[in-house]
Each structure stands twice: as C-alpha cells, then as structure tokens.
Symmetry: C2
Subunit: 101 residues, 2 copies
DNA sequence: GCAATATATTCCTTGCCAGTTATATAACTG
DNA sequence: CAGTTATATAACTGGCAAGGAATATATTGC
C-alpha cells in the first residue's frame, strides 16, 4: 500500500477523493456520503494522508480534509506512453494521416 | 481485482505492460526480464487478459502477448479533473494570469 | 506415438488489507 | 468539572491475492 497506485486502487478511497474534489470536508460529512463506518473512513483517510493525497487542519473538534492531488501526477506520468497508443487506435483517421504529419 | 485500477496497482503487472509497450513478447521472454517465476508470470498475464489489457495469439508452442491499452482510458478519465488541479498548483504563474485567460 | 519445449493450472501457504466493535483522545458546552 | 460531540486508534476477524512447487496441457519435430 506504499505506492499511489495501490492507494487509489481502493474504490472507497477514490470516492473520498472525488468528494474532496468539490470542497474540503470533515470526517462526518464524508461518512454521510460514503456508506462506510466512521472508523473505516478514518483509516482510509490515514492511508490517503500517508500518500500525500490529502491534507488536514483542525476546525474545533472537526478535522477538515482537503485534496492534495499532486501525487496523482505519478499515475498520469505512467499513463503517458499508453495514452498515445489508445488514442491512435480509437482514431482510425490518424493512421491514414500518419505519413503526412 | 475486477477493476483496471486494481489490476495495474500490482508492480509486476505494470512492469509487464511496460515491456509490452516496446513489442509483443512470449511468456518466456517476459519471464527473463521480470525476475518472477514462469507460473507467476502466467498468472499475472491471466489477470491482465481478464481486464482486457493484453491480447494473445499462438506462435507454435509459444504464446505472444501484445498490449491492448484501451482499458487504461478509464484511469485517464478518472484523473481528468485532478490533472487540472495539480497543473494549476505546480504552475504558479497561472495563478497570476488567472484573470487574464 | 514419443520426447522435448512452452505455457497454463492446481494446490497450498502466507501475509496483508478492509471491516467491525470497542475504546481512547481531544475539544467544545454548560 | 461533567457531559457531549468528533475523530482516531487498537484488537480482532475474514477474505483474498501473491508466491512457490508440482503437475497438467498443448504444440512441435522426429
């Protein structure tokens, strides 16, 4: 679970990130939308924090989690070479134009 | 292990895909470069095939595996909204130009 | 059909991860 | 300070996935 790939392979964790995409949230707000228990949510948040994907700060008793998307760049970088390939396949036209570029 | 996210979260499987990025390979050729056993490699290939990430065809006793990158588009699509965010953070200049775009 | 090569599959074991329950910690309210 | 709310942590459990060893399947060439 040390790599960002493993961290985001978990559906609930992706869901958490998707929610934080809208706005920072407290743990309670996340639990409401996630149908996971509060401890379960806290543990996922811990993993996300360990990967640098979220950042926390206190707000009274609550803790507000906000998105820190930078580590996702590693996935994006890995995808790079493949992205060209599937684009080439999906766009049949490009094959015809291949010599003209 | 049903989602493409889970499938590519495994480092050896990503390595296999990276190798197939260069050219189609037989199982034996992959085993040489992977420091994994032959059965282990075959099992990873099975998972990759299940996810539609590789395609096989026979060549005598060998089986040639080739890349089928299309399912990776799902990951790319999920990354979409985040990509904008980290680009915005990494490029401080854009903040200044934000009003001018 | 037989030996050899290449690959897949099965069985077994081990370790890890997610979920649950219960409890601890911390901060605010009165 | 006592009670309440919010979150984290610990201990336990179940399941699943990866790895290894042995074996099965399939194809080739003789």
């Amino acid at each position: 679970m040390s790599t960002v790939f493993e961290v985001v392979s978990e559906p609930t964790r992706r869901h958490i990130l998707d929610l934080l995409l809208q706005q920072p949230c407290s743990v309670g707000e996340l639990v409401e939308q996630l149908d996971t228990s509060q401890p379960g949510t806290s543990k996922h948040l811990r993993v996300l924090r360990g990967a640098g994907l979220v950042r926390v700060h206190r707000d009274a008793q609550r803790r507000l989690y906000e998105l820190a998307p930078e580590p996702l760049a590693e996935i994006d970088a890995w995808l790079g070479p493949y992205r060209m390939l599937w684009a080439r396949r999906l766009d049949a036209l490009e094959r015809h134009l291949d010599g003209a570029s």
